[in-house]
């Protein structure tokens, strides 16, 4: 029983992290109808930057966010304006996948060149610390990662729901032409949406680095689960992706008990296929997802 409860708590924590990692993907899809394969590669890039920062300066990896978040925002705007926006609208969905795939390859190759293929791990003084949480023993780093995810997602939610920019962004997601008619500069908003998505990758990558061994080709292992999350949640729905991430995270952790870690991974793909067969538009998405 306590083992199941322990997995449940870990699953919720993992699910929160997954929600953070997948948040950017829903933003890109929302504003540009683009499936950003390179998102996972940028997560790993952020993880490496956090690692290099900590090893180089001896400071806490959280402080690297001061640099990486604005940097990733700028890169995201650049990727949208210089690369994705150049594609022909008719073939946008397919070609953008290939384009962002190309970006992922370039990022992975560059990481390999700069940092070599050696497996790295953040040297943290509190890496081994554990906390008792409702009777379950949880590593402190997992709690910090979960906290980062909650803070970032809450911030994103406020940004989207309360601010004027958030309104413009949501309008662009819902109906681009109508938003433009109402005076929204959709091209610029789409660029900022991309930047925002990549900025979440900076936070997500740092959270990931706290508790994972990193290496350049790590992003392949993340693409599949993240894609499964956004499809199950409904493409383009930030809230749906968060719910799906929590459910899948808990499911995966509970399945690890009888199946072991490797086979529990297949849970994501099973969920993906079941979703496509029962409800291709996703379980929590709105009308937007229906068209894809």
């Amino acid at each position: 029983m306590s083992l199941v409860f322990q997995s449940l708590v870990l699953g919720v924590l993992m699910g929160g992290l997954y929600a953070l990692l997948a948040a950017g993907l829903t933003l890109y899809f929302g504003v540009m109808r683009v499936v950003m394969i390179a998102h996972a590669a940028f997560l790993v890039l952020a993880a490496y930057l956090a690692w290099a920062f900590t090893v180089g300066t001896g400071l806490d990896p959280m402080l690297s966010l001061v640099v990486t978040v604005p940097l990733f925002f700028a890169v995201g705007v650049g990727v949208q304006r210089l690369l994705v926006a150049r594609l022909r609208p008719a073939t946008m969905t397919m070609m953008s996948v290939l384009l962002t795939f190309a970006v992922a390859l370039a990022v992975e190759g560059a990481l390999g060149l700069v940092f070599t293929g050696t497996h790295r791990r953040l040297p943290l003084s509190y890496a081994g610390a554990r906390l008792e949480l409702f009777g379950a023993s949880v590593a402190l780093v997992k709690l910090i990662a979960f906290g980062l995810a909650v803070v970032t997602l809450a911030g994103l939610h406020v940004l989207l729901k309360v601010t004027r920019f958030g309104q413009a962004l949501r309008a662009t997601m819902q109906h681009r032409e109508a938003a433009r008619l109402l005076g929204v500069d959709t091209d610029r908003v789409a660029g900022y949406g991309f930047g925002l998505g990549l900025a979440t990758a900076a936070v997500g990558g740092t959270a990931l680095a706290l508790d994972a061994t990193i290496y350049p080709s790590l992003h392949w292992a993340w693409i599949g689960p993240l894609m499964a999350i956004i499809v199950v949640g409904g493409l383009g729905s930030v809230g749906g992706a968060a719910i799906a991430a929590l459910l899948l995270g808990v499911g995966q952790n509970l399945l690890q008990l009888p199946l072991g870690t490797t086979w529990a991974q297949t849970f994501f793909y099973a969920a993906l296929f079941v979703t496509l067969i029962l409800r291709p538009q996703g379980f929590f998405g709105g009308r937007l997802a229906q068209r894809f």
Partner: protein, 329 residues
């Protein structure tokens, strides 16, 4: 003109092994021929229907494993195993196709990637049957007294024959009612459907044909190379290579994937031999793919054809543009 070109191509394919200066060049030739087979196999679904699958490594990998396992566990003759294996893969592709083709665009690509990742997990973990992460040694189909260069030569010709059969099939489909339907799906699926094209059945048929040929290519490669490692068989890189080659050559052209395979395959093998296997390859492949997607989305062959047409004398001062060309812009 076309016939002469075909004869020259065929003559080159027959004569290449005797022209190759040493076994290494010959083995590079086999690798490029294998790339061409896989890319052409991919193009049955990518070129006709416009559904871009990044996960065709699933079918080449399954083809290789099916061939190897049928030889080792069922004791079949290697060539029988090759064909039976590809048929098994084609049957397996039916449910995958039904699930994947329910969705369009982005979701389709996601599913195609997911299939490869699932298979990688399964083939790595299910060690008792597949050999797991240690890989699977596939016995050679020829006797031990057939030496390495001779092996390369035979496999080069086998690949060439398979490629010929596939190109013929592509050509026939391209001119058939089935092919017209597929191309209509590529241009506008909803309109095609409203005009009475049975889109679901057509897409599925193209998908299964593509999986079958890709599996044959994977199986033939497995027989030649003699060793399968799940990491390399079920790799998204292999699938993206097929996409890159086809796009570079031109997905709407019969010989597009072949041209792309020769260019990319030669460049890859040359730089591997020259500079070793470094991470720079990934960067180069990424940049090349991005350049093709941004500036040459129709591929080399249509670009060259357009250039020739423009330079040819006798053009009217006002260029005539067909509806098809207008839509493509």
């Amino acid at each position: 003109m076309k016939a002469v070109g075909l004869v020259v191509l065929a003559a080159f394919l027959v004569a290449f092994p005797s022209l190759a200066s040493d076994p290494f060049v010959l083995s590079v030739g086999v690798v490029i021929a294998s790339y061409a087979v896989l890319a052409t196999g991919w193009n049955f679904v990518g070129g006709f229907t416009g559904y871009i699958s990044l996960g065709h490594a699933a079918y080449s990998g399954l083809g290789g494993y099916a061939t190897g396992l049928l030889i080792l566990r069922a004791g079949l003759n290697p060539w029988v195993a090759l064909v039976v294996g590809a048929l098994v893969v084609a049957v397996l592709a039916v449910p995958v196709g039904i699930a994947a083709l329910r969705v369009r665009g982005a979701s389709f690509v996601i599913v195609s990637i997911a299939v490869v990742l699932v298979l990688l997990l399964v083939f790595q973990s299910w060690g008792s049957v597949t050999g797991g992460s240690d890989g699977l040694r596939v016995p050679r189909p020829f006797d031990a007294d057939v030496l390495r260069p001779e092996q390369h030569q035979r496999f080069f010709h086998l690949h060439a024959v398979l490629l010929g059969v596939m190109l013929l099939c592509w050509w026939v489909i391209d001119r058939s009612r089935f092919g017209m339907g597929l191309k209509a799906i590529r241009e506008d699926e909803d309109k095609a459907r409203s005009l009475g094209v049975p889109t679901v059945r057509y897409k599925l048929a193209a998908f299964v044909v593509s999986a079958f040929f890709t599996a044959l290519g994977g199986g033939l490669y497995a027989l030649w190379f003699g060793f399968l490692d799940p990491i390399f068989q079920f790799s998204i890189l292999v699938g993206s290579n097929m996409v890159l080659m086809s796009l570079l050559g031109g997905v709407r052209s019969l010989f597009g994937p072949l041209v792309g395979a020769v260019v990319v395959g030669y460049a890859t093998e040359f730089s591997k031999a020259q500079y070793g296997d470094t991470q720079l390859h990934l960067v180069a492949m990424g940049v090349l793919l991005a350049v093709v997607v941004l500036f040459l989305p129709d591929g080399i062959i249509p670009a060259l054809r357009g250039l020739v047409a423009r330079l040819r004398p006798g053009q009217a001062s006002i260029r005539e543009v067909t509806q098809e060309e207008l839509v493509r812009r």
